[in-house]
Amino acid sequence: MKADTYKLKDFSSFTKDIINVSGEKINNCYQCRKCTAGCPITFAMDILPHQIIKYIQLGFEEKVLTSKTIWLCAACETCGTRCPNEIDLAAMMDALRQRALATQYRNRIGEKGTSVFHQEFLSSVKSNGRVYEAMMMAKSRMRSGHFLTYLLRGDWIADIKLFIPMLLKGKMGMLPHRIRNRKEIKKLFKKFAIGRKV
């Protein structure tokens, strides 16, 4: 009997896209779970790293793209460094985030706070050429959840308690550092059509 063989063309467009964008041989995974064993963030994840790979192979797009995991991965690269099949999971997570933002799943981001942080970070870089930490931190803290919760829970008090010593110790500037050639940076953002709203 001739064994069934799978070719890349047989996989869903989701699976193919993640393999192509990340450049990683995701189908080589044999579920040894070494990635999950070494991952420092598993305690907060809803889907474990080795499970994410399995779901990609099986084409479970919605499950993966609406997960918290893809946003909680800190890209520390412990998994990718240890994978016996040389799959760089951090590159795979990048591809998943990018697809989540580019498809209908952008309205169902599993971990909005981190996504908002990246958005605020890039918007600061887009206007200044460098990141203005003070403004970026303040804006992403305020936008990461519900603004009312932020106010009522007193998170803003903790933030101010941190910002004041940082300001006094010269770790926070009152004004952004801007580069001269901001045009070049804006052009790059335009080229890759970055400037979304979540």
């Binding site: 964008v21 450049g23 420092p40 963030i41 305690f43 907060a44 909680l72 800190a74 890209a75 520390c76 690269e77 412990t78 990718g80 460094t81 760089d88 951090a90 990048d94 591809a95 985030r97 990018q98 933002l101 971990e111 706070g113 981190t114 996504s115 908002v116 942080f117 990246h118 958005q119 970070f121 890039l122 870089v125 050429g129 460098r130 990141v131 930490e133 003070a134 992403s140 803290r141 990461s144 903790a158 941190l162 010593p165 940082m166 110790k169 010269g170 770790k171 926070m172 500037g173 550092h177 580069i179 001269r180 050639n181 070049e184 940076i185 790059l188 953002f189 080229k191 890759f192 970055i194």
Partner: protein, 286 residues
């Protein structure tokens, strides 16, 4: 002999990690290497650009590579581990997939070693030892390398990525008592500190516990994000886990500066949120 190298400080070294930039610049100068800042450098893209768009992540970091190439200097030093890794990723991508970036002409013209290797190999342990005027005897320290200075090794070229030892050797040359531990390259949570503070607190709390268990009095770092997470939130983390952490976090360049007698050392240490001065006074090192 004075060597000139390109220098990419990155946004953190002009903000939260200001004392890292100040101490690196001073120490390099005293040890015979002039850091020449890239003119009009821009953000490397950090953790955010690669989460949104691969092309942007590569091309925004590549802008700085081009500036470094145009400077004509052979080497570039990038103290921030995150900037270092993103710049190396751009270098790697442009080498492996040049057809995907037709607008960029960069062909690995600049040599970019990580800062710890640069100090260890290019400046050299002998040169450091020769310049030490005050041995940091009795200071019990663990070196914490973090993630991005060595991972992924295919990008950074790091040899000993699970158990790096170069910072340990540097700190030993200063006379400190370097303690071995198993958490040198564990993650501090990086930028999750802003959006998911509780995750960062758990990771960092664990690092304090392991460093203290090993017998360390302080932690040496080489990354402004590691420093921010370990230094700035110590009170909050103590409160959450009902502990009383009070562990100074030093940039390894600050400790070199202390040992070779840099005059601005107090200015750098005063920028920390967890006071390192008390410990150094107790040890008669300040």
């Amino acid at each position: 002999m004075n060597t000139k190298v390109s220098y990419y400080p990155g946004c953190s070294l002009r903000g939260t990690g200001r004392e890292y930039g100040e101490s690196a610049e001073a120490v390099f100068k005293s040890l015979g290497t002039e850091l020449v800042e890239l003119p009009d450098w821009s953000c490397c893209g950090a953790s955010s650009a690669h989460s949104e768009n691969k092309g942007l992540a590569v091309e925004i970091a590549a802008r700085n590579l081009i500036l470094a190439k145009e400077s004509g200097l052979k080497d570039m030093v990038i103290p921030c581990s995150a900037c270092f890794q993103r710049t190396k990723v751009a270098e790697y991508e442009l080498k492996e997939n040049p057809q995907a970036y037709p607008d960029i002409s960069y062909n690995s013209e600049v040599n970019i070693p990580d800062i710890v290797s640069f100090v260890h190999n290019k400046i050299g342990i002998e040169a450091i030892k020769k310049n030490v005027i005050k041995k940091l005897t009795g200071l019990k320290v663990v070196s914490y390398y973090g993630c991005l200075i060595s991972r992924h090794p295919k990008i950074t070229g790091a040899g000993n990525f699970e158990n790096p030892t170069e910072m340990d050797t540097i700190l030993e040359a200063l006379g400190t008592e370097v303690i071995d531990w198993g958490y040198k390259t564990d993650c501090c949570g990086g930028s999750l500190a802003i959006s998911q503070a509780e995750i960062m607190q758990k990771l960092v709390g664990n690092l304090y516990d392991k460093a203290l268990e090993a017998g360390a009095e302080c932690i040496a770092v080489c990354c402004p994000l590691c420093h921010a997470n370990l230094d700035m939130y110590q009170k909050e983390i103590s409160k959450r886990f009902k502990k009383n952490y009070n562990t100074p976090i030093f940039y390894f360049t600050e400790l070199i500066g202390l040992a070779i007698g840099e005059k601005d050392i107090i200015k750098w240490l005063k920028r920390h949120l967890t006071d390192p001065i008390k410990l150094l006074k107790e040890k008669n090192l300040l």
